[in-house]
Structures are given as C-alpha cells and as structure tokens.
C-alpha cells in the first residue's frame, strides 16, 4: 500500500500541497486530474523525494508501512517507487542501455539480496529488447544516449520502458500522455495497463485528458485543486471532468 497522509509541502517557500490524503494499493490504477498549478507535478516530485521540496513534519508517506520521509530518491526507488517524468531530462554522453543496466542491477540487488547476479551487458540487452517489442520501440534506441535528442514521444516511451524493466510496486505517470500522438499514446497506455496487471503495479496517472484513461481504465479518479483533493470518484468522474471542465466540478 502507498499511503499519503496529510501531505503538506512548500517549494521556494510557497505552500503548494495543503493536506493531501491518498491510498493506492498494488494493482490499482488511480488518476489524478486538475488544472495547471494545482500541485499535481509537485505531488509526483514529492513522492520521489525531490531535494528542493520541503515536506511538513506532520505529513507521512508510507510504502507498505515503511516511512519514506527521510529517504533519498535512490532509496525510494529501492523501496519500489517509480516516477515516469513529465519532462525526462537529457543526460549527454550517457548511453541509455548502460544507464538502465546499472539502474536495474542496483535495484534488483536490493530487492533480491546477495543471491542476485548482476546481468551482463549482453544478457541485459536481451531483456531490454524483449520489453521494447511490447512498446513497439526500435532497437537502435538502446545505442543512443539517455534522452539526448529524443523527441517528446520517444522520451515518454523510454520512461515506460524503464518502468517495464525495473518492475516497481508503485508508479507515478506524470503527464505521460503529453507529447504522444494518438497511436503512440495507445501503445504506451496499453503497455502500462498490461504491466500493472502483470506485475501488480499500483499506478497513479497524472493527466489533463481523458484519452489516456480510456486505455488505462482507472478505478479511482481524484480532482486536485489548489493543493487539496476536492473530489474523488470512479471512472465516471473523469468523464464528467472531461466534458464540464474543472471549474464546475
């Protein structure tokens, strides 16, 4: 269970989240909607442990009962959390495949323990190639540098590819739909849905649009306005928000 209790955060001394409560179980898909500036992306960054975000001492974030508050981002990744970034940053000169292998080996070693044998570059490439087929990605991707010169759509696909390889318990998809064309969106969303089912991943998808939700079919939809969850409901809430906008909610 990913539990968020009374989450209050400041960024640059400005109060952004003003008391958010949310519980996500493994295998569940939740959607978080809301206008620009409501605090959606800040919530994602807070969960992952961004160093610039100041979290109130009264707030709690727990993964399966484990408190994340004092954990660095890498420790949170070890605990089973994954963030698909809204704007994945370019890291020049770092090969995508090698980065992901180091990431995979360190997370798996932590999860499985001393018996885990790190994958060689050759074995890891086989693993990555298989996962790429699901996302209909070209293998030449692996030869490129991390997000360097990737198109908007390629960056988003690469995020979901990382998720599929790292097999987290809980994943936050921060506007993964932006920058994707219709057919890419379908592939990515269906891929994420399949991963959720296959590995029992709890997903929190942040979006402005219903389209990605049509494929992900979240059971829970939350509306975040001005740092507070104003409304929670089922999939039908997403439909009414899509038709009527946030103001009338």
């Amino acid at each position: 269970m990913l539990e968020i209790k009374d989450l209050k955060v400041k960024r640059d001394n400005k109060e952004i989240l003003k008391g958010v409560d949310l519980v996500i179980k493994q295998g569940e898909i939740h959607a978080l909607m809301g206008p620009n500036g409501s605090g959606k992306s800040t919530l994602a960054a807070t969960l992952m442990g961004h160093p610039d975000i100041e979290v109130s001492k009264d707030s709690e974030i727990l993964i399966d009962g484990k408190n994340l508050s004092e954990m660095t981002p890498d420790q949170r990744a070890m605990a089973g959390l994954f963030l698909a970034f809204q704007y994945p940053i370019e890291i020049p000169g770092v090969p995508f495949l090698e980065f992901l292998r180091v990431s995979y080996n360190s997370i798996m070693k932590d999860r499985i323990g001393e018996s885990f044998r790190p994958l060689s570059p050759y074995k890891f490439k086989q693993l990555a190639s298989e996962k790429m087929k699901i996302l209909k990605m070209d293998e030449s991707f692996l030869e490129r540098n991390l997000n360097e010169g990737f198109s908007g759509g390629e960056k988003k696909k690469a995020e979901i590819l990382q998720m599929s390889i790292l097999e987290p318990k809980y994943a936050i998809l921060d506007e993964t739909d932006s920058g994707l064309d219709v057919s890419a969106l379908k592939i990515v969303a269906k891929g994420a849905k399949k991963l959720s089912e296959e590995f029992n991943i709890g997903i929190l998808v942040i979006t402005h649009y219903k389209r990605i939700l049509e494929y992900l079919k979240p059971s829970y939809v939350h509306l975040l306005i001005n740092g507070v969850i104003q409304k929670s409901g089922g999939y039908d809430l997403a439909e009414s928000l899509d038709q009527e906008g946030y103001e009338d909610a």
Binding site: H50, D74, F85, P92, G93
Partner: protein, 475 residues
C-alpha cells in the same frame, strides 16, 4: 608565501585518502646516480658528460641554461611561486645501462607497473612499449614488424647517438630554448623521452606507447621527445603518466617536438595523472606541412598546477590541426590548459575542443590562441570550450585569444559553463543510483566526446580515475 601551509594540507589529505588512491605508492629508491639538488653550469656539463654527448649538444645545453637564467618566470598564468629551483634533482639515473629485455627489468620497476595495473597482455596489443622510469628509459621494445617497416622508436638519448642527423635537423628547432623559461630549462637538463621516426608512406595502425613515472623524491623530470612523421605516413603515440607518491613539490617539465610532413597524419595522446604536488609545465608543438594532419589528445588529471597548450603550426596549404583537451581540477589544483593554432598558409583548418571539470576549490582555465597570418586566406577554425562545475567552490575561466590578420577566415567559438545539474541527479537517483554513482555517470557522459577518441584501455582507465576522483565529492 602560503606554500608551506598548502603543502602540509595536501600531505594530510593524502594520508587520509591513501587507501583510495590506488596509484599512490612509493617504491624504495634504487637510483645510483643522483645529483645533488640545485642547478648550475656544472650540473649541465655533468649531465652531458655522463651521457657522452656530442659537443654541439653540450653547447646547446649551455646556451639554453643561459637563456633559462635570463628569463623571468611567466606571470600571466597559474601561480608558480611554489617552485624552488634550488630544491630539485636535475638528473637521476636508475642503472648504468639501458635494459634490453623485459626479463632484465629490475623487480621494483616491474612492481611499479603491476601496481599501476599495466597488464602484461597489453604488450601483445601494443606495437611497442617504452617505459621511462626516473630519468632514463629502462625498457624499450619494438616488435619485429615495426623495425622491418623502418620505424625507429628509441629513447631520445640512444637515438641521439644512433641518428644524430635527425637531431641536427629538428631538435630544438620546432621549440627553441628561448620559447619560454621552461622550454629553456628542459633544453638545458633534458634526459630521456622518446624518439620516433616513421618513414615515408608507412602506417602504424596500433599505437606506440610509453609510460612515464616519477619515483625519486624531489626529482624533476625533463623528458624530451622528438617525432618525425615522414611524407604520407600515419602514426599514433600514447603516453600515460601516473606519478607515485612523494612528499614535497616536484616539477615535470617536458618538451615534445613533432614534424608532420606532407600528407602525413600523426596523433599524440596523453593521459596524465600526476600526484597533487607536481608542477606540470610542458611545451608541445607540431609543425604540419602540406595536407598534413596533427591531432593532440590531452587529458590532465591531477598535478598541483598544469600549464600546457599543445600547439599546431599549420605551415603549408591544406594542413589540419586538432586539439581535444580534457582537464580535471580537484581540490587545490589549477589546470591551466588549452591550445594554440597558428595558421601560416592558405586553406588550413583547425579544431579545438576543450572540456574541463572543477571540483571543490579546483580551478580549470582554458587558455587558447588562434593566429591567422596575412597570407593565410580561406582559413577555418572552430573552438568549443565546455566547463562543468561540480560544486559552488569550484571555478573555471576562459582566456581565448585571436590574432586574425586576414579577412577571409571562418572562425567559430562556443563556450559553455554548466553546473552538475540537480535535476539530472534527481532523475538518475530516482532510478536507484546513489548520488556518487549518478555524479560519476554525468561526469563521464560530459567527457565522452574525448574518451571515445582514446584507445580502449585508456578510456577504461580514465573512467576509473574519474570515478576515484568523484569518491567523497558529494554529500
């Protein structure tokens, strides 16, 4: 003077980091012919006499000594006030004669190589291995194929005896003793170094390689390298420097002269990892003739102060020059490095890529000169300087100089300074990488354009060195 205090800080720092600094160790000193410290005319005469040199070389040394004494210390670059010329050994000879086979190499020298991780198998990969230990070349080998092609690869002292004709033509001509104070010093007391001659039309596909070490306490190293790539030839020379530990300031002042003849191409790669008390003041220059290409790849990690600006004089039409330089300035270090491109003929081109990384109080300066003479029309030159700062105390600066005396030139200059990005770190850490691993990955990515130009084992070694440098640099 603040020197003594800084020095003692470094000693403390060294002791603390000893276990991490793989390259840091010190072998018992087996040198037999160690001069008293300090420099005077007798020292210069003695060096020449011990080497049985021809009279013209003695005269050259004495003239250079006079120039050295008359020149002021350069005051335009890094702080050199810590150099005490009176406290340096100007000549150290480890054994009486040159070693001829690997089996004859003294054990403590072999141990040095072992500790540095110079693999035996590497010799199979390499065309020839030249290793300089203290001031002499103690081991030199050149595989049969090379000698059949007529390639000469020798210690400079030996080459002077066997091939004086090349020395009379080139030695001290590309870099004259009066070029700068440290070129004059080297010219007066030089010892060791490599001599390479590649005959017309001969290509050496595997790199020639040399290892330079300093081992005797307080010893300066003044190697002298002369390379001639004859018409239409190709060669690649690689030197790796890694200094063992010692306790007081040391001076490394080399001179490298290269002539790249018509249509030839030569690449000179250096990876240096001096310990952090070494003053590394090196003059490197190549003359590139018609349609010739000269490439310097210069990686500077370590040392207290480095001043080095590999240069290419583009003498005739169609000549090309390239410098790829990489500097890592750690705590208390100043890397003042760059390049000089001197266009003396039409249709010549040059390319400079400089990457630097500064950590803690480290300072990396780019200092470059592009000169285009009046008759050099249709010149192209491109300069890219990228600096990466790892923390708020680190520093970088650029000093680009241009002297353009011709209107028909195309010159591009880009410079960027970036800080180790918080967002990049956050991204990598969110994937389970520790802050140290993430930082090292970002730094290795930053220098990748230069790393990819290195022979594989050097690329791996450099990545390892960067990782070592990154240890304890975060948090």
């Amino acid at each position: 003077m603040k020197m003594p205090k800084e020095l003692s800080n470094q000693e403390i720092q060294f002791k603390n980091s000893n276990s991490q600094y793989k390259e840091g160790f010190h072998m018992p000193d087996s040198s037999t012919n160690k001069f008293k410290m300090g420099l005077n005319e007798d020292v210069v005469r003695n060096i020449s006499k011990l080497k049985n040199e021809p009279k013209w070389m003695l005269d050259f040394r004495l003239k250079s000594y006079g120039i050295f004494m008359s020149m002021k210390m350069p005051d335009w670059g890094a702080d050199l006030s810590g150099i005490d010329f009176g406290k340096i050994h100007y000549y150290v000879k480890p054994s009486d004669k040159q070693e001829v086979s690997w089996n004859d190499v003294p054990d403590d020298v072999k141990t040095t190589f072992d500790r540095l991780g110079v693999p035996q198998a590497e010799r199979e990969f390499l065309s020839g291995v030249k290793a300089q230990y203290d001031s002499e070349v103690v081991y030199g080998s050149l595989i049969k194929e090379m000698s059949e092609k007529g390639v000469i690869f020798l210690g400079t002292d030996e080459a002077l005896k066997k091939y004086p004709e090349y020395f009379e033509e080139y030695f001290g001509k590309i870099i004259t003793p009066a070029d700068n104070k440290f070129a004059a010093l080297n010219s007066a007391v030089w010892s060791g170094g490599s001599f390479i001659y590649i005959p017309k039309g001969v290509s050496i596909t595997k790199p020639l390689q040399a290892y330079f070490r300093i081992n005797a306490a307080n010893m300066g190293q003044f190697e002298r390298t002369l390379i001639i790539a004859d018409e239409g030839s190709f060669g690649h020379y690689v030197e790796g420097c890694s200094a063992p530990v010692y306790t007081s300031a040391s001076l490394h002042s080399a001179v490298v002269e290269i002539a790249v003849k018509k249509g030839a191409r030569f690449r000179y790669t250096t990876i240096q990892n001096w310990y952090s008390n070494v003053y590394n003041l090196v003059t490197k220059r190549a003359y590139a003739y018609k349609d010739a290409t000269m490439e310097w790849i210069d990686g500077n990690i370590g040392s207290k102060v480095t001043m080095k600006y590999p240069s290419v004089y583009l003498m005739e039409e169609g000549a090309r020059g390239e410098v790829l330089s990489l500097a890592f300035a750690g705590e208390g270090q100043h890397q003042d490095t760059g390049a000089k491109m001197v266009h003396l003929a039409p249709n010549t081109s040059s390319n400079i890529i400089s990457k630097s990384i500064s950590k803690k109080s480290g300072r990396a300066s780019y200092r470059g000169l592009v000169k285009v003479s009046k008759k050099a029309t249709n010149v192209k030159s491109n300069i890219v300087c990228d600096a990466l700062l790892l923390d708020p105390e680190s520093r970088t600066d650029t000093y680009p100089f241009m002297k353009i005396d011709n209107k028909h030139v195309k010159i591009g200059h880009e410079a960027s300074v970036s800080r180790l990005g918080a967002e990049q770190l956050f991204y990598l850490m969110s994937r389970g990488l520790s802050e140290e691993v993430a930082s090292a990955l970002i730094v290795n990515g930053f220098i990748e354009p230069i790393i990819k130009e290195l022979p594989m084992e050097y690329a791996l070694e450099l990545n390892r060195l960067i990782e070592l440098e990154m240890e304890g640099s975060v948090g």
